[in-house]
């Protein structure tokens, strides 16, 4: 059989790899792969984020809070889009639905933020079970259209027939959020040591929920479900024929992603003390698709960055003096450039950079700094030449093949 010698070389190569990598690169890789490290990285990230954002990027804490809320939404959406391979165009149902449910619950049942969060999420899960049950009968574009239809249906329901509950086009204004656990004023300031990092309690609350959400998503993706979801994305028929109930797993992916949308929607209500009718509109469903793709489908952290970048352009760049009015255009260009350069989104780009850095470290350790620099120079020259070649070929490609 022909594969004996090849296997031998493959093993040898792996051994050599492990030896050379060693040290920092190796330790970083093993740290990155552990569950607790993911949680720790998220904690550090959300802790320093408002400080950096407010001081260096013209940000403000309220926007940072909103970024985390949409980040949670996008992380959940990616479980459906990136991992299971299902494109839903109706996730506004779960985000907006949870926002309304949370608002109405706070006004008429209990104003405890934790109960409000729970009620909104539970409502989203219930809706997802129904919408998923009906939409998942069809695949591909039909699934997308069905979910879009359910989204628009819920928008019109909230706009008029259910206006006695939702307050119609004015949005739901009677949101009443009480103190967290009865003592902590969620819209108030923070006690001393925290003041160095952040200035209000709401951010802390949302940040804690974000960390928990990321931890949950991480656990789900490392559970058997994570593997099964990717198997369905890769080859649905084969998954069915190894004996998996693909339909039920798809429904679970749908419900799980809606649960995250529900958490985000409820937080949105708690944060804004108001539910706009807009939160059920189809543009909300479209936004989350763009955020997720921009950040990087099929990664855990990517969608958080996608949500952040989207909201940054929408809220900060739109305030710039000259560029401001064109923020939609800028967003479009950023999206196109990101998708062309990094098909796996911002996070794909980050990972690519990380891999290249690791490879560079390895190469330097092996061959010394001189050889590494020479190699880098060669590579740069090559790349530049390739780009020039590409640009020069544009006229030929535009105006026919004479340039050959």
């Amino acid at each position: 059989m022909s594969d004996e010698p090849r296997n031998a070389t493959a093993t040898a190569a792996t051994d050599a790899d492990a030896e050379v990598t060693g040290g920092f690169a190796d330790r970083w890789a093993s740290f990155r792969d552990r569950e607790i490290s993911t949680v720790l990285l998220t904690v550090v990230g959300v802790a320093v984020f408002p400080f950096l954002f407010n001081n260096f990027l013209d940000g403000y804490t309220q926007l940072a809070t909103l970024m985390l809320i949409y980040g949670i939404f996008a992380v959940g959406f990616d479980i459906l889009l990136g991992y299971t391979g299902l494109l839903s165009f109706g996730h506004a149902v779960f985000f907006g639905g949870a926002a309304y449910a949370a608002g109405i619950f706070s006004a008429s049942v209990s104003s405890s933020p934790l109960l409000v969060l729970f009620a909104g999420t539970a409502f989203a899960v219930l809706m997802a079970w129904i919408v998923g049950f009906l939409s998942l009968r069809r695949g591909g574009i039909y699934f997308a259209i069905l979910t879009l239809t359910f989204g628009q249906m819920s928008f019109y329901l909230a706009a008029s027939p259910l206006a006695f509950l939702t307050n119609g086009e004015n949005g739901f204004t009677s949101v009443d959020i009480g103190h967290l656990l009865g003592v902590i004023d969620i819209h108030g300031g923070v006690p001393f040591p925290l003041t160095m990092l952040v200035d209000n309690m709401l951010y802390v609350f949302v940040a804690v929920v974000t960390v928990l959400s990321v931890a949950m998503a991480n656990r789900i993706l490392h559970s058997p479900y994570g593997t099964v979801f990717r198997a369905i994305r890769e080859n649905e028929r084969r998954a069915e024929f190894v004996g998996l109930d693909v339909w039920r797993y798809k429904l679970m992916a749908f419900i799980i992603s809606a649960a995250f949308a529900g958490i985000a929607g409820s937080l949105f209500t708690i944060e804004g003390n108001y539910v706009p009718l807009q939160s059920l509109y189809w543009t909300e469903s479209g936004r989350i698709v763009i955020m997720t793709v921009l950040g990087g489908v099929g990664s855990l952290f990517g969608p958080l960055f996608g949500a952040g970048l989207y909201l940054y352009i929408e809220n900060i760049v739109s305030g710039f003096e000259t560029l401001g009015p064109f923020w939609h255009l800028i967003l479009g260009i950023v999206f196109v450039v990101a998708v062309i350069l990094f098909p796996n989104g911002i996070w794909g780009g980050v990972e690519y950079g990380q891999d290249r850095t690791m490879a560079a470290i390895r190469f330097t350790r092996e061959n010394g700094i001189k050889a590494a620099l020479r190699y880098a120079l060669d590579l740069t020259v090559q790349k530049v030449k390739a780009v020039i070649q590409k640009i020069r070929s544009v006229p030929a490609r535009l105006f026919g093949g004479e340039g050959k």
């Binding site: 059989m1 022909s2 594969d3 296997n7 493959a10 093993t11 792996t14 569950e35 949950m216 656990r219 789900i220 490392h222 559970s223 058997p224 479900y225 994570g226 593997t227 099964v228 990717r230 198997a231 890769e234 080859n235 028929r237 084969r238 998954a239 069915e240 024929f241 190894v242 004996g243 998996l244 109930d245 693909v246 039920r248 797993y249 679970m252 799980i256």
Partner: protein, 252 residues
């Protein structure tokens, strides 16, 4: 006991009868090949048995129980596995993950409510996945992306996936299609080995007569949806109806 039994199994597409009242019985441990010219209804028959297609009428019993009305995954869970015509694997996952999926389905059944349990807490699944890879000789490739395997190894991986649950019966749709002679030989050896080790019952659809005569205990010949001959390789080879179907069909 009969592992598989079909009675009057029929599938009509509009006016065309693709499978016409086929009665087939397969005994435990038997290796049966289904052959026939193009368009004879072999693939349709396999699709009926795996429940991808709904029969127009007729009965399919697996291990003595009717499987009419079941979903494909339920039939697989009862012990009937299928290997596809093209290497049907999960291309962007690693070789190990491919085997893990099959192991999950074998160990946990078609669905389980366990999305908050870490994969590491199921050592039995991991063990089974490793066993599968060892049995098809792909253990050393486990960290590689399945897409990077050569075609022969992809087919072996696919066979491994199909065998992970130690099925009572394996349906194989042209398992050596598109393989080089070397790859074909090693696949045939692999099939023979698992048949012996697992006492595997199989139903094979194959165009390569050399393979068919090599590994089948019994051959069933299908033409225009009906069984026209049945018997040991030698009997079938000498059957005038078979020669007619293969050689004389052109004139009509």
């Amino acid at each position: 006991m009969k592992v598989l039994k079909t009675e009057q199994l029929t599938k009509q597409f509009g006016g065309l009868t693709a499978v016409d009242e086929v009665d087939l019985e397969i005994e435990q441990g038997e290796g049966v090949s289904l052959i026939g010219p193009n368009g004879a209804g072999k693939s349709t028959f396999i699709n009926l048995v795996t429940r991808r297609l709904e029969p127009s009428y007729g009965e399919i019993a697996f291990q003595g129980n009717s499987i009419i009305g079941m979903d494909p995954h339920e039939v697989v869970q009862r012990g009937m596995s299928k290997s596809f015509q093209t290497a049907s694997i999960f291309p962007e996952l690693t070789v190990k993950e491919n085997a893990t999926i099959a192991a999950l389905a074998a160990e946990h059944g078609s669905f389980r409510f366990n999305f908050f349990r870490n994969q590491n807490s199921y050592p039995a699944v991991d063990e089974l996945a490793n066993e599968v890879l060892e049995s098809v000789g792909l253990y050393d490739e486990r960290e590689n992306q399945a897409d990077s395997l050569d075609y022969g190894n992809k087919r072996r991986l696919e066979l491994g996936i199909a065998l992970a649950a130690e099925p009572d019966m394996l349906l194989m749709d042209e398992p050596t299609a598109g393989m080089s002679p070397d790859e074909t030989k090693s696949t045939v050896d692999l099939i023979k080995r698992v048949k012996e080790e697992l006492d595997l019952t199989f139903l094979l659809v194959e165009h390569d007569m050399e393979i068919v005569f090599d590994i089948s205990d019994r051959i069933v010949v299908l033409n225009r949806g009906s069984v026209i001959a049945e018997g040991t390789p030698t009997e079938v080879q000498n059957d005038p109806a078979v020669q007619e179907a293969y050689l004389g069909g052109v004139e009509e």
